[in-house]
């Protein structure tokens, strides 16, 4: 972040091209806990790393050129980067020098092509074998689960090594829903790229569209109308509530507490219906567009929201009592799936998971983005780090989001919904953004060429820094508690596999 050659086309957050010495120094500082890696990615020529400096709270991007296809590994000293480096090698063929885990990650040997992001080489599509990490000892047995799971959920493979009922090691194998979204973005016009970004992870469609739009608007220095900013925040908070309430019900359901599940599902449905009345789509897909929003909030929409608010404010306290007073559910959730603050901080783990383990980070606060500095809200927090804590943080955040929606409606400015037209430019610009989804912070980086064509785009789901922690949290729990722990994390497969 210090030194190196500044890149002028990078707007909003500075980007510097550094030499190997500075790159290694940055890695050392990060591994000592002086900063968080927000993401690590490649554009097919160089490797970039976005870093949040703890001392200054500044975000910067460092770039290392890799003309010979190699760069010094970050994961070698900072484990959260390992899977990102494996993914970079799968897509672009760039080797992270010193990386201990050389297995493929997203590439399962099924694409019929290697390194699709750079000089694709045809290959057979018969599938690669995958060597799971060993767990040895006479009483241990393995339980393979997935990719097709028993419920209506996304696909991924879990390999448990268990000693009787107790999980000794869990290893995840992901990548099953890799769709090549970042390559589909290459040379895509902005409207198509926005549609793609909105479908990285359907449950966070508003947050993704917002993160992508913010990155583009930062790159092109677009001033978004005030009313659009408030409408975007309104959608983002509705999405947060719908997901959190659904998750609380689903976690309880995984411990067979179906009463809670039923009531949460009803409230979730009411949120989705109100969203549909306001914005014409239950998940509010494609409602955030570059430079503004697609739909205005009508008087009918506002009254639907006010009715939803009073219903939700009435229901949440009894829900809290129902959860808090039922000892049989607490017997399952308290102490289960414990994640310590040390790991949460090392991984820069965002969202409910990080906040339930004492890491208070929330992108709405830091770096912060409009309109949140003008609104007052409490960020959920807990320290126990177990399934129970993750439920309580979700309750806190639902209450905070309900209060936010009330403020947003009260303060809703008048004005236009989006800018008239995108600024014409003959140059290339870069922008980035960090947006808080219900799951945690989404990082998006984009490079846009002349005529508003996306050259490269990188989207990092919060799950990248949460999935590895699930492996740690499940250790020592019984196999039967895995669904409960997994649901309390609720990482995205699609967002991660991209």
């Amino acid at each position: 972040m210090r030194g190196g050659r500044g890149i002028e086309q990078s707007r909003h957050w500075p980007r510097h091209v550094v030499d190997q010495t500075s790159w290694r120094r940055a890695i050392r500082e990060i591994s000592k806990g002086q900063g968080d890696v927000l993401s690590l990615w490649s554009d097919g020529a160089d490797v970039h790393m976005a870093v949040l400096d703890h001392e200054s709270s500044d975000i910067g991007i460092v770039t290392i050129e890799c003309p010979d296809g190699r760069f010094p590994s970050v994961g070698h000293m900072h484990p959260p980067a390992i899977r990102l480096e494996r993914a970079i090698r799968d897509i672009y063929g760039f080797q992270a020098h010193g990386l201990c885990d050389t297995r493929n990650w997203l590439d399962h040997g099924r694409w019929g092509v290697r390194h699709p992001g750079l000089k694709p080489e045809p290959s057979d599509a018969a599938g690669d074998s995958y060597a799971f990490l060993a767990a040895e000892g006479a009483p241990l047995h393995q339980i393979p689960v997935g990719p097709v799971h028993a419920g209506v959920i996304e696909p991924g493979h879990f390999r448990f090594s268990a000693n009787g009922e107790v999980v000794v090691r869990l290893e995840e194998r992901l990548g099953y829903v890799h769709k090549g979204i970042q390559q589909l973005m290459v040379d895509a016009p902005l409207d198509r790229a926005t549609r793609l970004a909105s479908r990285v992870s359907g449950d966070s469609t508003v947050a993704y569209a917002l993160a992508f739009a913010n990155a583009v608007e930062n790159a092109l220095e677009i001033e978004v109308p005030e009313r659009a900013i408030y409408l975007r925040a309104l959608m983002a908070e509705l999405e947060r509530i719908a997901n959190h309430i659904g998750d609380i019900g689903a976690i309880c359901n995984d411990a067979s507490f179906s009463l809670m599940h039923t009531h949460c599902a009803i409230l979730r449905e009411r949120v989705l219906r109100a969203s549909h009345v306001c914005f014409g789509h239950r998940l509010m897909m494609d409602r955030v567009v570059i430079g503004g929003v697609a739909d205005d909030l009508t008087a009918e929409g506002e009254s639907a929201l006010r009715a939803l608010l009073s219903e939700a404010n009435r229901l949440i306290p009894p829900f809290i009592d129902l959860y808090g007073d039922t000892t049989s559910i607490q017997d399952r959730t308290v102490g289960a799936g414990h994640l310590g603050s040390e790991l949460a901080n090392q991984y820069g783990c965002g969202g409910v998971i990080g906040r339930a383990s004492g890491r208070s980070f929330d992108a709405r606060r830091l770096p912060g983005y409009a309109p949140y500095p003008d609104l007052s809200f409490k960020v959920g927090s807990a320290h126990a780090g177990d399934v129970d804590a993750r439920i309580w943080v979700r309750f806190d955040e639902i209450k905070a989001s309900l209060a936010l929606i009330e403020q947003i409606l009260d303060k809703m400015p008048e004005g236009s919904l989006r800018i008239e037209s995108l600024p014409a430019s003959s140059e290339t610009f870069e922008g980035a953004a960090l947006v808080e989804s219900f799951r945690g912070d989404i990082f998006v980086w984009v490079r846009i060429g002349a005529a508003g064509i996306v050259h490269r785009c990188h989207l990092r789901d919060p799950s990248w820094f949460q999935w590895p922690l699930l492996e740690a949290a499940i250790e020592g729990n019984i196999v039967a508690d895995f669904p409960l722990c997994n649901k309390s994390f609720n990482c995205s497969y699609s967002g991660h596999d991209l």
Binding site: H108, G180, I181, R192, G202, L259, T262, H263, I266
Partner: protein, 170 residues
């Protein structure tokens, strides 16, 4: 907890009237279903859902089918954990190449007679992901499909309409 249970006794159900099935959907199905299988299975279907690369938007709406408003089970439709217990495979997503074999094996593990319902625009033709090196595209390129329910994602009413058509056509 007692309060919640008592409330449940006093309040009318939230469940809404069934939507009418779409005629074109019945037409699509008529060609693929025969009376013999209808007699064998009666008016009940077990569904195994397979995510073959969706963004998880379709899964959210499929989940919603189980809530009190839509109450899927009143139509004799229920989700089962294993393809070996299923009559219907409900498939979402643009079939990623990494999921192709898993989908084929799930289909092979489902006993006859069986039907495949492809959910969402991605499952119809790859949707926004069509043309990617990592996606096959339409579900019908991998396994035979009996019914498409379009939408991005289709809302629960659209899903119900399609599934009721499936039950009625049998």
């Amino acid at each position: 907890m007692r309060k919640f249970l008592f409330q449940g006794l006093h309040r009318p159900p939230l469940t809404e009237a069934a939507p009418l099935s779409d005629d074109p959907m019945i037409a699509e199905l008529a060609g693929t279903l025969n009376r013999a299988s209808r007699r064998k299975l009666g008016h009940s279907l077990s569904i195994r859902e397979v995510d073959a690369g969706s963004c998880n938007g379709c899964e959210l709406e499929i989940h919603a089918l189980g809530n009190a408003f839509y109450d899927l089970e009143r139509f004799g439709l229920r989700f089962v954990a294993s393809p070996r217990h299923a009559d219907v495979l409900m498939v979402t997503g643009p079939v990623t190449k990494n999921m192709r074999e898993a989908l084929e094996r799930t289909y092979a593990a489902t006993p006859h007679p069986k039907w495949v319902v492809a959910i969402g625009d991605c499952a119809f033709d790859g949707g926004v992901f069509a043309g990617s090196y990592a996606c096959v595209g339409a579900v019908s390129e991998v396994i035979p499909v009996d019914l498409h329910i379009r939408g991005c994602p289709p809302d629960p009413v659209a899903l119900l309409r399609g599934l009721i058509a499936l039950v009625e056509a049998r």
